[in-house]
Structures are given as C-alpha cells and as structure tokens.
Amino acid sequence: MGFVDAMGAVFNLDHPAHTVDWNFIHLSVANVVVIGLMLIVFVLAILLPFPGAAARDAARRGGGAS
C-alpha cells in the first residue's frame, strides 16, 4: 500500500468534485480538460504536416507516381 499512499498524498481526491457552471451547463473540471484536449488535438491534426506527405507530393508532381 506504500505506492497507493504516496500517490494519494499527491492526488487528494477526498473532496467534492470541482465543477464548471455556466447557466444550465454543469461540467466537471475533468470533463472540461478532456474536451479542451480534444480541441487541441483536432487543431494540431489539421495544422501539423504528415510525415512523408511532402515527399510523396513532390514525387507525384515530378511524374514519379506509380
């Protein structure tokens, strides 16, 4: 139980859940964090270049497509 006790000292869960309240919207902070992460991943998926995509595109434009 040593590990569990040590982690319990770091993450104290012995309290009511923290929530975000805005009009009728009532969300736990944990769910807000997950939604925020999904938005960040979505934006990064659009902006970040895919590995090898530029090389394949260059090969296609050069007539190297198989």
Binding site: F42, L44, I46, F50, D57, A65
Partner: protein, 245 residues
C-alpha cells in the same frame, strides 16, 4: 465424375441465391476496392488518422473485455493483473471516444456525406450513438460503489423517457448482457458496414480538390499527370487525386 466436368459451356449459369449474392457482392465491392494497395495523396494528413485510431481502440476494448469476461468481477477487483486489465479496458474506452469525437469533428467540417456518402455518415453517427449505452452499461457493470451510484442516478433519466421498464440500470444481469453481448455486436456490425461503405465510396476528398476536378471536367486544362479518367470512389478522377501505392 463431377457434374461440372460434363456441363456444356452453353448451359445458363446457376441462378441460386448464393450465386446472386456473390455476384452482387463482387459488383458492389470488387476485390481491388475492398483491399486497395494505394490511397489518394490527400489521405496523407493527420486528420484522416482518427478513423483507424478508433478501430484500433475498439480492438483493444474487445480484447481486454474478453479477458475480463473470462475471469470475472472478483479477479478484476482483487488481483493486480485484474486491476491492470480493468484499467486497460477503461482507458481504451476513454481513448475510443476521444479519437472518435475528433474523427466526427473532422468529417463534419469536411462534409463527408458529399459524393453519395450519406450512408457512410449515417452509419458512423449511429455507431457513436450505440457506443454511448455500450459504455454506460459497462460503468454500471463494474460491481462496485461507483456502479451503484451511476445506476441509481441514470435510472431516473431512463424512467423520465419511459424506457425504465425495458432497460433497468439497477438490474446487473440485464446490463451485463447488454454490455458484453448485444451492444458490442451492434457496434462491431455498424463499424464493419461503415468501413465497407468507405471502401466502396472512397475517402471523401478535400473541398478544393473537388472544385478543381469539377473545373477540369468542364473543359479546363487537365492535371499535369494526365487527363481525367473514370471516377474512382466518389467521382474524383484517379489522376486528380494522385493515387499512389
């Protein structure tokens, strides 16, 4: 001596239901489209990764869930290995919904129902809706205080819409049956149909590529790699999509 060897070539082909199903199947989904060796270059983008990431998560969910079902609640609550597989199952579900929502957003903003792909969109949306009760029945099948809390809270929602008599969240046997048999079968069947429809219709192209193809078809100069050819998957010519192996 077999009957086939004595049948003259001019004899009409059998029209049994197996032949009809086979011919319809091959016509709808030829082998080279069912298992292609190349994809259009526009698929080389991170936003196209989340569909297969959802399937990968689903495979981990089913594998870990099968082990949990074989071993039972005492094992997943009281042993270290049981805790491990319990956590694998729970976190793979979290990952499944995470990547499925990003997949949904990506396909929504690129209007992936274009080009006759309405059924692809609908099967994906229904899969999401069926996955929600699949997860809920899992939370109430944990056999702990968390499950009791969730089931007694969620039963009010079911009663408020009049389905509590048929879908009783406090009935462990019913919830467990839904969770390990009925809903997983529905999710896997829907995902299978979804993937087959994607194979049949092709991956939805970006908006700008579709517009460029429309201009090319209307008489504008062809692509540098060649003239537009027969449509492949959703009406985008193979030359315009730069399909590669």
């Amino acid at each position: 001596m077999s009957a086939a060897s004595t049948t003259p070539p001019s004899t009409p082909r059998s029209k049994s239901w197996t032949v009809k199903v086979r011919e319809k199947g091959v016509e709808a989904l030829p082998p080279e489209r069912l298992l292609p060796d190349g994809q259009p270059t526009y698929v080389a983008s991170w936003i196209y990764v989340f569909g297969v990431a959802s399937i990968a998560s689903l495979i981990v969910i089913i594998a870990s869930g099968t082990i949990l079902a074989l071993k039972g609640p005492a094992w997943w609550h009281e042993t270290s290995v049981g805790h491990f597989f319990n956590s694998i199952h729970m976190w793979s579900v979290e990952l499944f919904f995470f990547v499925m929502v990003v997949h949904l957003w990506g396909k929504y903003w690129m209007a992936s129902w274009r080009g006759g792909r309405g059924r692809v969109w609908v099967t994906g949306a229904i899969t999401f809706l069926v996955a929600v009760p699949a997860a809920l029945t899992g939370y109430v099948s944990q056999q702990n205080f968390d499950a009791q809390w969730i089931s007694t809270q969620a039963k009010d929602a079911m009663n408020s819409v009049g389905v509590g008599a048929f879908f009783n969240l406090t009935n462990f046997g019913q919830m467990y049956s839904y969770h390990i048999l009925l809903l997983p079968i529905a999710v896997v069947a829907l995902v299978s149909v979804h993937v087959l429809l994607v194979r049949r219709n092709g991956v939805v192209p970006p908006f700008e590529l579709e517009q460029r193809v429309a201009l090319t078809s209307a008489g504008a100069p062809p692509e540098p790699n060649g003239s537009p050819q027969a449509p492949t998957g959703g009406g985008v010519p193979r030359a315009a999509t730069g399909e590669q192996s």
